[in-house]
């Protein structure tokens, strides 16, 4: 996104908005991660304690999800940059 057309007051405002949204986004990502991994990893409700197998699965799932998100983010940024360059050359 390009905020260069914004004046200083607008840029300061957008910075605040973006910071707030990043926080909300991180939280949403966190709770969706817990939901997703729990759904995949926990299927035995004969006990209320997390088994060591379930715990290991949760950790692997969380780690993998973070790495997945990072990789998607990196590719997304590249594709975005490409699309903007293509648009600028028109």
């Amino acid at each position: 996104m390009d905020f260069s057309a914004f004046n200083a007051a607008e840029q300061a405002h957008m910075t605040k908005v973006i910071e707030k949204k990043q926080m909300q986004d991180f939280m949403r990502m966190y709770s969706s991660l817990v939901e997703r991994c729990f759904t995949s990893c926990c299927n035995d409700f004969t006990s209320k304690a997390l088994s060591s197998k379930e715990e290991q699965c949760m950790m692997n799932c969380a780690d993998k999800f973070l790495k997945h998100s990072e990789r998607v983010g990196a590719r997304f940024a590249e594709q975005n940059a490409e699309a903007m360059n293509a648009a600028a050359q028109k």
């Binding site: 990502m29 709770s31 817990v34 926990c42 409700f45 715990e55 990072e70």
Partner: protein
């Protein structure tokens, strides 16, 4: 459930927007987790035959265990993420904005 550090007491009688903002974010976070908990444990425990309107014994026990297990799982993930949490740029941060 206090997930975030609390700033020291403000003795004045006016609303501190940042404190209130933080409390609202915390509320939203708890609500989001709760809604996902309801939905997840419903999928795990409730039969979709709907032959009766009451929770049967098996469903009730399953719900209790599901909530307890979800809390434990949530705590483990939270501890794991604390390490990466400092640079918690999350998804938006990756946009190159």
């Amino acid at each position: 459930m206090s997930m975030f550090g609390r700033s020291p007491n403000a003795p004045t009688g006016s609303v501190n927007p940042e404190r209130v903002e933080m409390a609202i974010q915390e509320l939203d976070m708890v609500t989001d987790i709760f809604n996902r908990l309801v939905s997840t444990c419903h999928a795990k425990c409730i039969s979709t035959r709907y032959a009766e309107g009451d929770l049967n014994k098996g469903e009730s026990v399953c719900i209790d265990r599901c909530v307890a297990k979800f809390f434990e799982a949530n705590k483990k993930v939270g501890e794991r993420l604390q390490n990466v949490g400092a640079n918690a740029s999350g998804a938006t941060g990756a946009f190159g904005l």
